[in-house]
C-alpha cells in the first residue's frame, strides 16, 4: 500500500499503526488530564473578556459570556467521549450476544435476528436516535440507549458470519470428530478468532458513537443545554455566526473531528493489519 512512500519516512504498516495508536492515546490522555485540571471555575463567566478572538491566553477565544472556549471544548470532548464509550460498549455487547445467538441457536433464531438487524437498519440512525431520545425524555440516558440500540447491527452481522465460518472450518470438524466437547471447541477455536474482530468492530463503532452523540445533542434532543457538550457549544455558536464569531464553531468542531478521525484511523489500521487482503 505504501510501497512508493519509502524514502524519507520508511515506516512499515505496523510501525505506522503503533504511531497512530500513540497519537490517539495522547489525545485521550490530554483530554482526560485537561478535564481534571479544569473545574467549573475555568469556564466561569468573565464579562470583561467577552467575544475575544483566539490568542495565546485563550487558545480558542472566548464566547459571549467571556468563557474560555478551550476549556469548554476539553470538557465537551471528555463528556462526548464518556457518552460515546458507554454507548459503544453497550452496543458491542448487544452485537456480541445477538451475533452469537444467530450463529449458534439454530435456524429460527437466525431468521429472527436477521429480521431484527434489517429492522434497525431500515430506519435512518438519526431518526431512530430522535425517536429513542424522545421516548426516554432526552438527556444522558436517552442518548446512551439510543446509541446502544442503533449501532449494533453491522457488528452483529460480522460476528455471526465469523462464527459460522469458523464453525464450518475443517479443523473444527476434526476437533468435533475427535470428541472434544462443545465448550472446549468454543474456547479454543471460536473465541480466539472472534476477539480481534470484536475489538476492531468496537473500536470502529466508538468514533461513530461520539459523532452521533454530538449530532443529536446539536439538534437539541440529547444532553441538556447546561452540560458543556460539544453539540451544545456548536448549536449555541449558530446564533453568533452572522456576527463573525467564527472561532466559536471552528475550533470545537475541529477538535471533535480530530478525536473522531484518530480513533477511526486506529481502528481502520488494525482492521487492515488483521485482514491484509482488503486494503
Amino acid at each position: 500500500m505504501n510501497l512508493s512512500f519509502k524514502g524519507k519516512l520508511s515506516l512499515n504498516r505496523r510501525q505506522r499503526t503503533i504511531l497512530e495508536i500513540g497519537a490517539a492515546l495522547g489525545f485521550i490522555m490530554a483530554i482526560i488530564i485537561g478535564r481534571f485540571m479544569l473545574d467549573e471555575g475555568s469556564i466561569g463567566t468573565n464579562l470583561s473578556e467577552r467575544n475575544l478572538p483566539p490568542s495565546f491566553e485563550h487558545f480558542f477565544g472566548t464566547d459571549w459570556l467571556g468563557r474560555d472556549m478551550f476549556a469548554r471544548t476539553i470538557m465537551g470532548l471528555s463528556l462526548s467521549m464518556g457518552v460515546g464509550l458507554a454507548g459503544a460498549v453497550s452496543s458491542a455487547a448487544i452485537a456480541l450476544v445477538l451475533g452469537l445467538a444467530a450463529a449458534t441457536l439454530g435456524k429460527t433464531a437466525d431468521t429472527i435476528i436477521s429480521w431484527l438487524i434489517d429492522l434497525f437498519l431500515s430506519v435512518p440512525h438519526l431518526v431512530t436516535l430522535i425517536l429513542i431520545s424522545f421516548a426516554l425524555g432526552g438527556g444522558f440516558k436517552g442518548i446512551v440507549f439510543g446509541i446502544a440500540l442503533t449501532h449494533w447491527p453491522s457488528l452483529a452481522r460480522v460476528i455471526r458470519a465469523e462464527v459460522m465460518q469458523v464453525r464450518s472450518a475443517d479443523y473444527v470438524h476434526i476437533s468435533r470428530k475427535m470428541g472434544k466437547p462443545r465448550t472446549w471447541i468454543a474456547i479454543h477455536h471460536i473465541i480466539p478468532h472472534l476477539i480481534p474482530q470484536f475489538l476492531i468492530g468496537f473500536l470502529l463503532m466508538f468514533p461513530h458513537a461520539i459523532l452521533h452523540e454530538a449530532a443529536v445533542t446539536f439538534l437539541g434532543l440529547g444532553l441538556s443545554p447546561h452540560e458543556p457538550a460539544i453539540g451544545i457549544i456548536l448549536s449555541e455558536s449558530m446564533k453568533y455566526l452572522s456576527s463573525g464569531l467564527w472561532w466559536l464553531a471552528f475550533f470545537p468542531g475541529l477538535s471533535l473531528l480530530l478525536v473522531v478521525r484518530s480513533f477511526d484511523a486506529v481502528g481502520e489500521r488494525l482492521r487492515v493489519l488483521m485482514d491484509p487482503a482488503r486494503t
Partner: protein
C-alpha cells in the same frame, strides 16, 4: 418468461419482508412513544395550559382514547394507518400526510441535488484514485475521504455558512426562501440560491463512502486479465477506463448510491437544521422536541419507506442487470 416469473417472485418476497418490517417498526415505535415521559395532552395544549381545566383534559384523553389499553390504542392507530389516515399533527394542525407531503417536496429537491452531486463527484474521485493507485493523488483522495467520514455533517454546514454566507456573502444564511416575502413573489433564482449551500454540504459529506468503494472496485477491475490484455494492446488512461472500466464499476456504484438513502436522510436532518431549511429533517426535529407524536410516528414510517425504496431499487438494478446475482442470493453480506 422464466425471468419475468423470477422477478415477480423476487418482488413479492421483498414486499412481504418490507411489510413485516414496517409492521415491526410501527409496533416498536408506538410502544416507545407511549413510554415517553412527555404528556401528549400537555404537548397538545401548549401555552393554553391555564385555560384548560381538568375536565377538559379528561375529555381530550377520552377523545383520543388515551385511557384505553396500549394494545387497543395501537390497533386503532394501525387500522386507520392502513386506511391512509396518519392522524393530525399537533404542531402544524394539519393531517400528518399533508405535512409530510409538503415538507418532502422541499426535502426531495435538496436530497436529489446532493445525491446526484455526491454520486458523480464521489465516483470520479474513486476512479481517479484507483487509476493513479499509490501516487500522491490517490493518497490525497484517500486521506480526504477518511477525514470526511469523521467530519460531523452539521459542523461542515456551519463552516459553509461562515465562509460563503457570512464572509463572502455569496449566499443567504438560511431558510428555504427569503424572509418577509410573499410566497408568490419568490423567484426560481431565490430558491436556487437558498438551495446551493445545504446541497453542497450534504453532497460533500456523502462523497466519502462512494469514492472509497468505487476506488476498491476499480482496483479489482484493473487487476483483471482483460485489463492486462487491453494494456498490452496499448490502451491507456481515459480510453482504457471508458472501454473496460466504466461499465464494471458503474453498476456497484449506482447500487451503493441507492442503498445509501438512509445516510442521505440522516444527513438531510442535520443539514436542514443548520440552514433552517423547511424540510422533512427539520419537521422530525421539531416533532421530537415539541412532542408531536402523530407526526413523529408518521415520519419514522415514512423514512423507513424511503430507505426501503432505495434498497429495493439497488437490489433490482443488480437483479436485472447482473445475471450472476439471480442464482441464489449470494451477494448478501
Amino acid at each position: 418468461m422464466a425471468r419475468a416469473k423470477n422477478l415477480g417472485r423476487f418482488l413479492l418476497w421483498r414486499s412481504i419482508r418490507a411489510f413485516t418490517l414496517l409492521a415491526g417498526i410501527s409496533i416498536i415505535s408506538f410502544l416507545l412513544v407511549k413510554n415517553s415521559p412527555i404528556d401528549p395532552i400537555q404537548a397538545y395544549i401548549g401555552a393554553d395550559m391555564l385555560n384548560v381545566g381538568p375536565e377538559q383534559r379528561e375529555k381530550i384523553a377520552q377523545h383520543w382514547g388515551l385511557d384505553d389499553p396500549v394494545f387497543k390504542q395501537y390497533v386503532n392507530w394501525a387500522s386507520s394507518l392502513l386506511g391512509g389516515d396518519l392522524g393530525t399533527s399537533m404542531i402544524y394542525r394539519e393531517p400528518v400526510a399533508e405535512v409530510i407531503k409538503e415538507k418532502f417536496s422541499h426535502s426531495i429537491v435538496l436530497m436529489l441535488t446532493a445525491w446526484v452531486l455526491s454520486g458523480v463527484i464521489g465516483f470520479t474521485m474513486g476512479v481517479v484514485a484507483a487509476m493513479n493507485k499509490d501516487t500522491a493523488i490517490d493518497r490525497i483522495i484517500k486521506w480526504y475521504c477518511y477525514t470526511l467520514a469523521s467530519t460531523p455533517a452539521f459542523w461542515m454546514g456551519l463552516l459553509m455558512v461562515m465562509v460563503f454566507a457570512v464572509w463572502l456573502g455569496w449566499f443567504p444564511v438560511g431558510l428555504g426562501v427569503p424572509a418577509g416575502i410573499l410566497s408568490d413573489d419568490v423567484t426560481f433564482i431565490d430558491k436556487v440560491k437558498h438551495l446551493v449551500l445545504p446541497a453542497i454540504t450534504l453532497s460533500i459529506v456523502g462523497v466519502a463512502n462512494i469514492a472509497l468503494h468505487t476506488r476498491q472496485k476499480m482496483i479489482d477491475v484493473l487487476a483483471s486479465d482483460y485489463i492486462l490484455f487491453a494494456r498490452a494492446r496499448g490502451e491507456r488512461g481515459f480510453i482504457l477506463f471508458w472501454r473496460h472500466g466504466l461499465r464494471n464499476v458503474a453498476l456497484p456504484a449506482i447500487s451503493l448510491q441507492f442503498a445509501a438513502f438512509s445516510e442521505l436522510f440522516g444527513g438531510a436532518v442535520l443539514t436542514e437544521q443548520v440552514f433552517s431549511y423547511p424540510g422533512l429533517g427539520q419537521a422530525t426535529v421539531e416533532a421530537g422536541l415539541r412532542g408531536d407524536v402523530p407526526l413523529l410516528l408518521g415520519l419514522v414510517l415514512f423514512s423507513a419507506l424511503f430507505v426501503f425504496t432505495g434498497n429495493l431499487i439497488a437490489d433490482l438494478i443488480y437483479y436485472v442487470v447482473d445475471p450472476r446475482t439471480r442464482e441464489g442470493r449470494t451477494y448478501e453480506s
